[in-house]
Symmetry: C2
Subunit: 567 residues, 2 copies
Amino acid sequence: MERVDLFIKNARIFNVYFKKFMDCHFSIRKGKFYYIDYKKETEFESDNIIDLKGKTVIPGFIDIHMHIESSMLTPLPFCEYIGSKGITTIVAEPHEIANVAGVEGVEEMILAGEASPIDVYYGIPSSVPSTHEDLETTGGIIGFEEMKELAKMKNIACVGEVMNYRGVIRDNNLEITKFIEYIKEKDPSYIVEGHCPLLLDLDLAKFLYLGINGDHTEHSLEEIKQRYENGMFVEIQEKMLRKEIIDFIVEQNLYEHTAFVTDDVMVDDLWAKGHLDHVVRKAIDMGFPLEEAIYCASYTPANRMNLRDRGAIAPGKIADFIVLEELEYLKVQDVYKKGVKISQMNSLKKEYQFKEKFYHSIHLNKITEEDFKFKAPMEEGEVSLRAMVVQDGSTQLKEEIITLPVEKGIVKWENTKYLLATVFERYGKEGSVGYGFVTGDGLKRGAVASTWVHDHHNLLVVGSDVKTMVLLANQIIEQQGGMIVGEEGKIIGNLPLPIGGIMSEDSVEEVASRLKEVRDGLLHLGYQHYNPIMSVGTYGLVVSPFLKITNKGLVDVQKGELVDLFV
Amino acid sequence: MERVDLFIKNARIFNVYFKKFMDCHFSIRKGKFYYIDYKKETEFESDNIIDLKGKTVIPGFIDIHMHIESSMLTPLPFCEYIGSKGITTIVAEPHEIANVAGVEGVEEMILAGEASPIDVYYGIPSSVPSTHEDLETTGGIIGFEEMKELAKMKNIACVGEVMNYRGVIRDNNLEITKFIEYIKEKDPSYIVEGHCPLLLDLDLAKFLYLGINGDHTEHSLEEIKQRYENGMFVEIQEKMLRKEIIDFIVEQNLYEHTAFVTDDVMVDDLWAKGHLDHVVRKAIDMGFPLEEAIYCASYTPANRMNLRDRGAIAPGKIADFIVLEELEYLKVQDVYKKGVKISQMNSLKKEYQFKEKFYHSIHLNKITEEDFKFKAPMEEGEVSLRAMVVQDGSTQLKEEIITLPVEKGIVKWENTKYLLATVFERYGKEGSVGYGFVTGDGLKRGAVASTWVHDHHNLLVVGSDVKTMVLLANQIIEQQGGMIVGEEGKIIGNLPLPIGGIMSEDSVEEVASRLKEVRDGLLHLGYQHYNPIMSVGTYGLVVSPFLKITNKGLVDVQKGELVDLFV
């Protein structure tokens, strides 16, 4: 009798080719599926023989568009956790760490994930900074040469989301445009992922014409229809799970060109709901056929990323699979990576030691009350200023013109309904500070400070009281990163993020619990938002409408330029 | 108004994503589709504006498994001809020229096709010789190092069909096994094509386990079912177009894992019926849904070969398309390659000058009557010998034990019902000659000689009369290759194949007409076979059952060894 590493009897596997559940025995050799014995005739010798007694086995899930840093976790605990949920391969796009530390940051992320129990592929960050050095200062810049360098590295699967979608269809001299030309010249089939909300008709065609043909952003039905029609691979994240979208995909039989992805998952959602497995479950709940949902989380993402060695239970494919306790709700019993149960892997106890400099990424001197004193262009009277308006349900900030009193040349903003927002350049490059105001559904009192501020990740301090702002700012500098909330000179929630100022080395549970503390603190201080963490974390995201803030000042996103604080 | 290179109005295009015909205007820039304007709203300036008045446009066809040499044509006339039929990309596997001239032959084929109006990609010949040097002498050998060298060349799409399918699942020390390991180590998604008739169950799994997961050979329904079930990409050639197979693909919705291919097309069939277009038409005729048939000749073959820049009419894809005069019968009006009408390309007048040595590949001295004198292991009496039995409907040759008289130590075979078959080693390597006998549905009288003898392409001379055999053999040496038929000291059909002894530089029409002469000659001499050319051309194919002949002698294919002529 032939020997195999693992012999699993009486399984009911999901065959992605027939899109059917089929009874079989199956065996594994050297991490790959060997024989899927639908006739159940052949016996093998093995030290590992398992009788599943008819339990269902599906391929491991593959998430081809996501950002590990969005979870605030470092790669190892993140990957171990999602591995236990059934995600066995990811394509991570590390543009957050690239904003902090450039190519070196990307390299460090790759090293930090190397001992991961799951396979981590990478997209080349193509939009770092998200806009331009004139609008935001970042720790790292990824230009043409850096992208070339990154493309040579191991486990690079694609060019990550091209975000400057209005720019690339206009200006052919962008670094990213040059890079796409370069890489397509070398390999016309090189995969380039996009990010193009709202783009339609000829503009969409221009984007596709450049060879950028995947999109994971949020869309209307018309936008979705046009994307499929024009050969775009559509990546569905949780917020795209709407009935009309699902019905369209089902009616038009567009599974082949569809995959589920997660994009950004907050650590507390990760802890409470799960990862890609949650998206798949929710899709099924909303009427996406179960077989097709599994297909779009295994076969199609593998095909999209040209990872032809996985995404199916078939001879020669990598033996990544999930044993389900029950098919209903896809209740996971065990996850296997390369034929080994993830929960039993020795690597799980490993820790990654980041290079020293990643623990020291906040290059700022002590902040004082002076830093929040705000000079007006007059001695006494009232001044008109631009404020960013937080609105529940959105990360977009509208502009509002507000009026504040001026005394002895200083704007008197403390304890008004307008909170001062300051962004301190924290990479030790130019020490600039941007000022603005926030109003609307955000904080009503107290303060919040954060270095987790998409995408530039400078130090943001927002508050109504200087004393608390100074406290929080200095605590962040002291602990080299994090998100802290406080009031009346006291900290009421603190999530330290010492790795590059954006990640914690703690476990999912620990970070989720700390994040909840911060979230509860924000809610306690009157924040009205479905996700106050993401709301604060995107005040600085200058590719999201309309008025945002960086260390350079206020940015009019639509115009793509800096605007004066004083009107 | 924006300028484009070509602006086509009022087309009805086939959208591969929705698998539907859709009305639109479309435009082309720099050889790629630019805007597919389903709203028909946007006008463009162009020197080329065509109003198709509702005519149908489908993507150019892609043939991912075929051998140019099978047509006996050189790459340029071949590609020009199939280009006019709508085939705009091929993946050619040049193992015939590799048998004649090794890596240099492959390089020469690539150069010879460079000016082709269509795109020619290549599979790395992986089975040259088809078996082993002990069984057949070839001009070239492709081993591990040669495959490594070929893999670095431009336009290499895959490892071509691994034919020694029984060998690779047993013996892990084969050159091809080592090469697959090497190339998969570098790129686990590297495409490796197979050739595995009859392989089933665990044997099939072993083949797939090595990473060989495409097959284009002929199969029973059960074989086909197992191939799909186990994740094999199934390539359907004309002889696989059987009702039960088509019904199965349609019922099980297996289009995604299916493409049409041609494999080997004889030049007269090419002239009379067409190429991949003929296979597609025939499939539709036999009940394959029209939309899916087009899909399986464009989108799926592109996806299989990771040629993601083509196979669809969508922005950014290479503008390869067919304008149909009528949808019915897919009647072709014009074919466009990279946005240019093939019939109007300047390159069409080009000719390729093969390197001198390819015109001198038959290294044999003059053949004399002595060469066909056949010594028996006795002086007088009767001798028992093995003969190959030709059977109409098959290229397989069964074994029969025959008896012939011996006079003065010489076997008296002339003008019996048994024809002498001789294979002269023609590469100037060892000068060996293999002897055997042929009977059954083959020639009844006269003789045929050929250097187009799969796969070793040595000089085969078969006949019932020595005088004619000497004439034909020397004529072939004189003209450096071809297939000639004659009787009573006269040539009645002659197709010269001076390039490597297997190809002609003439046009499709000319070669087809010459081939017909030879075919008619064979029929005139009593050959009973649906394809006497292929029948003669496979006497030497030692990967096809059961008894075949090479310059080394008779080969028992199942055993994979030489056997004695005398029993």
